[in-house]
């Protein structure tokens, strides 16, 4: 497993995390812009896994700092819901994570992504990946 390079998708709120993600260009990480944490649908998270992601992170604004009042709370709820769905179909729920990131906190973004990346490296490739 030493040469396994996981691919990570970060769904980033355009008001906070995406501003950071644009600056930090990390290998193996694909930042995807979303208008607000509240826009995250379970369909999109599952679609990301389907398209070959080994892990997905949803990054929204800090608590009580959402421009749209409760978008980040909604994102957290949705992520917990999808975690249950992943476990039901036999995928490690640790592959999905939610974290709040502020727009000026590049360090935290880097740390979070690095931590997740190392975790994914340990876990190995996605269990549910269909080999063609």
């Amino acid at each position: 497993m030493a040469d396994f390079n996981p691919s990570l998708v970060t769904l980033c709120c355009e008001n906070s995390a995406f501003l950071v993600a644009e600056e930090e260009n990390l290998p193996g990480v694909t930042p995807v812009k979303i208008p607000c944490g509240g826009q995250v649908e379970h369909y999109h998270i599952l679609n990301a896994f389907d398209q070959g992601a080994d892990g997905v992170m949803v990054l929204a604004c800090l608590k009580e700092n959402c421009k749209h009042f409760w978008g980040n709370d909604r994102a957290e709820k949705k992520v917990n819901y999808v975690k249950g769905m992943l476990e039901n179909i036999g995928i490690n729920a640790e592959r999905l994570a939610y974290s709040p990131v502020a727009a000026n906190n590049e360090y935290k973004y880097g740390e979070l992504v690095k931590e997740m990346y190392d975790k994914l490296k340990e876990m190995g490739p996605m269990e549910g990946k269909v080999k063609k």
Binding site: V32, C36, Q39
Partner: protein, 432 residues
Amino acid sequence: MNAQRKYPPAPEEMTFEPKVLVVGGGASGILSAEKAAELGLSVVLIEKTEELGGKAAQLSFLYQSNLSPSQWLKDKISSLEKNNKVTIYTNSQLEKVNGQVGNFKVTLNIEGKKEEMDIGAIIMATGMDLSSKMPAQVEKGAGSFLSQMEFEKQFTQLASGDSKTFVLVVKEDDFLIGCINALKYSKKLKEANHNVYVFFDEMKVSEEGTEKLYHQVREEGVTFIRGTNNLKIGQEEGKFSLTTIDPQLPVKLAKELVINFDYYIFNEDLLPGADTGKLAEILRVNLGPGGFFQEDNYHTEPVYSNRQGIYFVGACRMPDLLHNVQEQAGAAVNSIYQLSVADVKELMEKTPLIDVIKCAYCLTCYRSCPWNAIDLLYEIEGAAWDGAPYLHPLACQKCGCCVAECPNRAISFPGYTDEDMQKEFKKIGGKV
């Protein structure tokens, strides 16, 4: 069968009524009405009581100048009454608000009669309430204890005469009005050769020129003592004394300080107006901390609410000083102007749109919208359930909450549709 409407409505149907409703006839309401009339918008000003002016008209002077606020407001009121763009209703209240920014359908209660109106935007300027609590049980000479507002009303009368002793006590509060009032009184009283003691918890001098004023009155001989918790009021035949120990001094030096005073002036608690909660329900806006209208969210601007076209000015959002209120009124009117000239066609292209064939009219989007931006339309051509909710392009803030919540996935968000997201996910792992 009735004539059926097309969905979505054409951009030409989205008109902006150039009419502003100002609720509350205090200083903030008058200033907002004046600014809006300057811009050429017609203004409807409603006031709950019989007279315009509110609390600011009872002030005797301002800290910056000797200008009398009551006279200043009287001039403004008379110029508003002459202005044919402005309609003033006293003894009136807001009853009901329907629709979205640009054409609110507002029901007013004008002296007992109900009247409906088309309004473009609403400025709330309902102000605050004061509650004063006597610092001590007094048998005789209760007139020596005055709240700041009572003192303000009879200032010239009390400040005249021989050297009296005034004690100004400013208890800890969230707002800086109490401190600034104490400073402005002490300046005037010192000029009239009175003895002034100011007791305070925290001196708030963040407003322009107030720190200078603080140093000035200190040099003139006003005594400032920190701490309001250990004040003991002694009374003897209608004469009062105040005993305290300065908490800032070291224990060895600390001595009891006894002040025989003539007047004791304390600051009131500033509370939101009694109708604030009721009005928030009518307007469908969120309340901020302490029950005020202010939204505690630093992404939105101070005068904004969680609905476009509804703005808060003055003490109903946060008790503030008159020159700040003037700026807030300008900010609110400026936002109304920007909305009225917005390019609706361009905004419509970015706004999420509901597929009327898929929509089951379950109102999940209506309930989940944080901006309350959804209009309910009926008699729509080709709709599964006769009508469909409509995301108003001027009110929608493009957060996508309704898109995620829709159980039937009937709402498509331009730029974030399934195909667009799929395109983004194609880049996963560096493969393009």
